[in-house]
Symmetry: C2
Subunit: 239 residues, 2 copies
């Protein structure tokens, strides 16, 4: 049995060779009419090589997802103390957009096949869920200090995935000609706005917020404002 | 071919008869060891009856999902002008929690089988996605006036589904002894808080919010507060 480590680096790696052959055939004959035997014949390798890389014909349609999931998990682990968890989770999803953007033609082909083949659509759901699970696991750990941490984590992971997936789907529907990563980042902004840490002002004590009944006596309101300002900005008195 | 309409109402409907037989067998032999032939033999009906109700053995594990999805779509259509869309979508997911709560023993059995059988877990994802799709379609239509309507719809549908599913999963994990609908409603509160319409105060002009730099000159702040109060509550002057 030859090992993947023995690959000749002047040739595309076996995984890519198989995926390229598969996508060629899917374009020519359709996904359902293509067999694994067709793919290995086109790639000029043995059947066992195929199954060493892909558990099924469905998986060759998503050849980079395993690597991307590994990259995502590795990236999530780089969070340091003080990292905004929601921000970090949103950044992690951009690795998926980047994977789509690296091979726009292949992403477009996949998009068309998924649209036409219900079994592939189901398979894609399951693949995509793995990213969401990785995000949720990361957020669950980070929000462990909150009583509602697990719920909070699930909601944000689902919202971030949905925003990302919507952006990538729209990018594909429009022909994959724009910047997928920028589109995903824009879509994630509303997840950040809803769930991320509020932006820290340069001087955290530089603002005071007052909420009052408008029918409260004016002098009382002014007194409370004065009091709040004095309490929050004692430095002014010292100057 | 006999029709479902001819069913004797003193006996459980055929769908339930088949599901009960199937769940009995899954408990006795496990999901994977049970065949459709076993199920129809136990239920005392023919093979064709099974496939009239369920496309596959996986589907009998979720016997009420089709009805529940229909109920959800019908409920979503009851939104009137002025209905808070996020609130309405959250209420719609409670129909699913209610379905789980109606048959807690069956829900617990299903939960155990899903945990143990990867094929069922995948099937559940696909079933659950249909609810999320129904919510997203409803919200997309409702948010059509917003430029980011489709994105907004996807995010909220995903967040509401995640909150609901987390509550139901937790309820199942803890033995299904508490109130699943109340738990789901509590979990959905943070989705409502993040995305729903802000609560309308009884008297909308009864509050004023002031945000000021704490280092601004005190007299200026007080002047602005006074001005804001006068502008927002002219009724006080008239009294």
């Amino acid at each position: 049995m030859t090992s993947g480590m023995a690959e000749d680096h002047r040739k595309p790696p076996m995984r890519d060779l198989l995926a390229d052959a598969a996508f060629e055939l899917f374009e020519e004959k359709g996904f359902e009419q293509t067999t694994v035997d067709d793919i290995v014949a086109r790639a000029g390798v043995g059947r066992r090589s195929f199954f060493r890389y892909f558990p099924s014909k469905e998986d060759v349609v998503f050849p980079d997802h395993e690597r991307c999931l590994d990259d995502m998990v590795a990236f999530l682990k780089t969070a340091a103390d003080g990292t905004d968890l929601v921000e970090h989770a949103c950044e992690a999803t951009l690795l998926v957009a980047r994977m789509y953007a690296e091979r726009p033609e292949r992403s477009l082909m996949r998009y068309r096949h998924i649209r036409d083949v219900p079994a592939l659509r189901d398979h894609e759901h399951i693949v995509i869920r793995r990213y969401e699970h990785a995000l949720a696991a990361f957020l669950r750990e980070g929000f462990a200090f909150r009583p509602d941490g697990p719920l909070h984590a699930e909601i944000i992971a689902a919202a971030a995935s949905a925003a990302h997936n919507h952006a990538v789907r729209t990018w594909l529907r429009n022909g994959a000609t724009t910047d997928a990563v920028a589109a995903a980042r824009t879509a994630l902004a509303s997840v950040r706005a809803a769930w991320g840490a509020p932006p820290t002002p340069a001087e955290p004590d530089d603002y005071v917020v007052v909420i009052t009944r408008s029918r409260a006596p004016l002098q009382d309101v002014l007194h409370h404002v004065e009091h709040a300002l004095a309490r929050i900005a004692p430095a002014d008195d010292a100057e």
